[in-house]
C-alpha cells in the first residue's frame, strides 16, 4: 500500500512540474505581456523601464526560473491590475467559491445517486422515465442557460429568491462563510443549483446504469435466494458495487464543477475565484491567470490522487494489485 502511495505521489510531482512549464510558457509567451500595463503610445524609455521592472526583458527560461523560485516561496507575483499579491487576491475570494462548490457537489451527489438508484431499481415507473428525461436536459443544456432560467423563474417572476451576489457572512476561524446564515442560504441556493445541474444529471445516469446492471447479476439473485430484504440488498450490495464508477466520475467532475463555477459566478455575480479569472482573462492580467491555472492543476492532481486512494480503500482487489 505504501509503495502504491509513493508511486502515485511521484507521478503527481512530475505532472505538476510539466504543468507549470506549460502554463508559464503559454501565458507569457503568447502575445505581449506589457500591453496592458502601459498605454500603447508610451514613450520608449518608459516602456524599457517597465519591461525591466517586470523582468520581461530576460530570456523566457530565465523568467521561468525566477517564477519557479518565487513560487516555491509562496510568492505568485503581483496582479497587473489590482497591484496586490496574487495569492492574497485569490485567497480572499476563495471561501465564496469553496462554499458554492461544496454545497452544489453535495446536492448533486446525494440527490443524483438517490434518484439514479431509484430509476435503476424501478426502470419502468413513470417517475423513472421522468427522471431520465430530465437528466437528458441536464446534460445537454449549457449551464449558463440554466442559470438564466433559474433567475427568470425564481427571482424575476416569482420573487422568492435573490438574483445574485452573496448573502450575509459569519466568520468562523477567521474566514467568512455565508451558508451559515439564513440570508446567506437564500443567496447561495440558486447558484448552487445551477452549478449542480450538470453533475446531478450525470450522477443520475451513472447511478441508474450501474444499478440496472447490478440488479441483474447473480450476486443479487443469490442474496435474494438467502431471503435478504430488498432494502438491505440495495444498501449493502448495490451501493457498494456501483460506488467505483461513481467515485471515478465524481473525481473527474469535481474539476469540471470548479471550471463551470466560472460561468455560474459570472451570471449570479458571485464574488468568487471564478469571476476573478474571467475578469483577469478579459483584461489579460497574466500573473493572476498563471496562478489560477497552476492552482487548478494542483487541485486536479490532488483530486486524482485522492480518487486513487479511495479506490484502494473500497476495492480490496486494487490493494493486492497496486502494492
Amino acid at each position: 500500500m505504501l509503495g502504491f502511495i509513493i508511486q502515485r505521489l511521484l507521478q503527481a510531482s512530475v505532472v505538476m512540474a510539466v504543468m507549470s512549464v506549460i502554463v508559464f510558457v503559454g501565458v507569457y509567451a503568447i502575445g505581449n505581456p506589457i500591453e496592458i500595463v502601459i498605454p500603447p503610445d508610451a514613450p520608449q524609455d518608459i516602456r524599457a523601464e517597465t519591461i525591466r521592472r517586470f523582468g520581461l526583458d530576460l530570456p523566457l527560461w530565465q523568467q521561468y526560473f525566477i517564477f519557479l523560485s518565487n513560487l516555491v516561496q509562496g510568492d505568485f507575483g503581483r496582479s497587473f491590475i489590482y497591484n496586490m499579491p496574487v495569492l492574497d487576491l485569490i485567497a480572499g475570494r476563495l471561501p465564496a467559491t469553496l462554499e458554492l462548490v461544496m454545497i452544489s457537489i453535495l446536492t448533486a451527489t446525494v440527490g443524483g445517486v438517490s434518484l439514479g438508484v431509484y430509476a435503476g431499481y424501478r426502470p419502468d415507473s413513470w417517475l423513472s422515465r421522468l427522471i431520465m428525461a430530465l437528466s437528458v436536459l441536464g446534460f445537454s443544456v449549457p449551464s449558463f442557460w440554466v442559470g438564466l432560467i433559474l433567475i427568470l423563474t425564481f427571482a424575476v417572476n416569482l420573487g422568492w429568491l435573490p438574483a445574485g451576489s452573496r448573502g450575509e457572512v459569519v466568520t468562523v476561524f477567521g474566514v467568512g462563510w455565508s451558508f451559515l446564515t439564513l440570508n446567506g442560504l437564500s443567496h447561495i441556493l440558486l447558484p448552487a443549483l445551477n452549478l449542480a445541474f450538470f453533475k446531478l444529471a450525470m450522477m443520475i445516469r451513472l447511478a441508474r446504469a450501474g444499478t440496472r446492471e447490478v440488479m441483474l447479476t447473480d450476486t443479487i439473485k443469490f442474496a435474494r435466494a438467502a431471503g435478504i430484504s430488498e432494502g438491505r440488498i440495495l444498501r449493502r450490495h448495490v451501493l457498494k458495487l456501483i460506488a467505483i464508477p461513481i467515485i471515478t466520475v465524481f473525481g473527474l467532475e469535481l474539476g469540471s464543477t470548479l471550471a463551470f463555477a466560472v460561468v455560474t459566478e459570472t451570471i449570479f455575480s458571485w464574488p468568487g475565484v471564478g469571476k476573478l479569472i474571467i475578469d483577469s482573462i478579459t483584461v489579460l492580467d497574466r500573473p493572476v491567470m498563471v496562478a489560477y491555472l497552476i492552482l487548478t492543476a494542483l487541485l486536479f492532481v490532488l483530486i486524482n490522487l485522492t480518487v486513487d486512494l479511495v479506490y484502494a480503500v473500497i476495492d480490496p482487489r486494487m490493494r493486492a494489485r497496486g502494492a
Binding site: 445537454s140 449558463f144 460561468v263
Partner: protein, 293 residues
Amino acid sequence: MAGSQTPLGRFWADFRDNRIAIVALVIVLALGLLALLAPLIVPQNPYDMAHLSLLDARRPPGYVGSGGYIHYLGTDPQGRDLLSAIFYGLRISIMIGLAAGSVALVLGTAVGIFAAYAGGRLEAMLMRVIDLQLSFPAILLALVLVALLGQGKGQLISALVAAQYAYFARTAYGAARGERHKEYIEAALATPLSGSRVVLRHLLPNCLPPLIVVATVQIANAISLEATLSFLGLGLPVTEPSLGMLISNGFPYMMSGRYWISVYPGIALIILIVAINIVGDQVRDQFNPRLRR
C-alpha cells in the same frame, strides 16, 4: 428475419423504430436547413448596420417596425429583428460546431491511431498526455486559449479543437488497439499493401462506429462551448452575433421584464443542442450490442 439489408439499411430500420429520435433528427435537419437558407428567408439582415434603427430597439414580440414588417419575436438592444438574428445565429453556431467537430475528429483520430501503432514508450507517453488533457475541463482550456489567441472565427475554432480533440484521440486509440490485433489486420499486413494503406482501407472503417458516436456528442458540445464563451464575452466579435452573444446581450434586460431578448435565442439554442444529443444517444445505443434487447 427478413431483409435485403445492407448494414446501413438495417441501421436505418432500427433507428426508425424510436420515434423520439426521428423527431429529433427531423428537427436537426430543419434547423440546419433554416441556417443554410438564412440569408434568403429572413426579413432583415442583422449585420447590415445601415438598416437598423434604434427606434426599434427592445420592442416586444409582434411590434411592427420601421422596416414595415412584423417582428415576430421582438427586437434586441440594437434594433435588430430577433427572428432574423436567431436564424443567423443558428447559422454561425452550427457552422462553428461542425467546423470544430470535424477538425477535432480528423486530428484526434490521426493522433489516436498513430499512438496505437507507435507502440512502446511513445504510445504510453502520448496516451498519458491525452488522459491528462481529458481530465482538464474543456471550458477552462478553451477560455485560456481564446484569451491568448484573441477574437475571431479561426482562433475560436482552434481553441475548440484543442479542447476537444482529446476525446477523439482516446476513442480512436481504443478502437485501433482493439482492431490491431485482429486477424484480418495481420492478414492485410502480410500482403504487399503498405502500412498506411492497410490503416486507411481496413482499420479506419472498423473504428468508425464509436467515432461517429463521439462526433455527434462533440458537435453538440462544441456548439454549447461556443455559446458559453460568447456569453462570457470571449467568443466571436460583436459584428457576428452567435446565439450565445444574443443571449448575453439580453441578460441585463431580464430584470426589467424584457425577457424575449435572451429567452428566444436561448430556446433556439436548447432545441438545437438537445436534438443533436438525442440523435447521438440513439446512434450510440444502436452501436452498443449489450443494450439491444
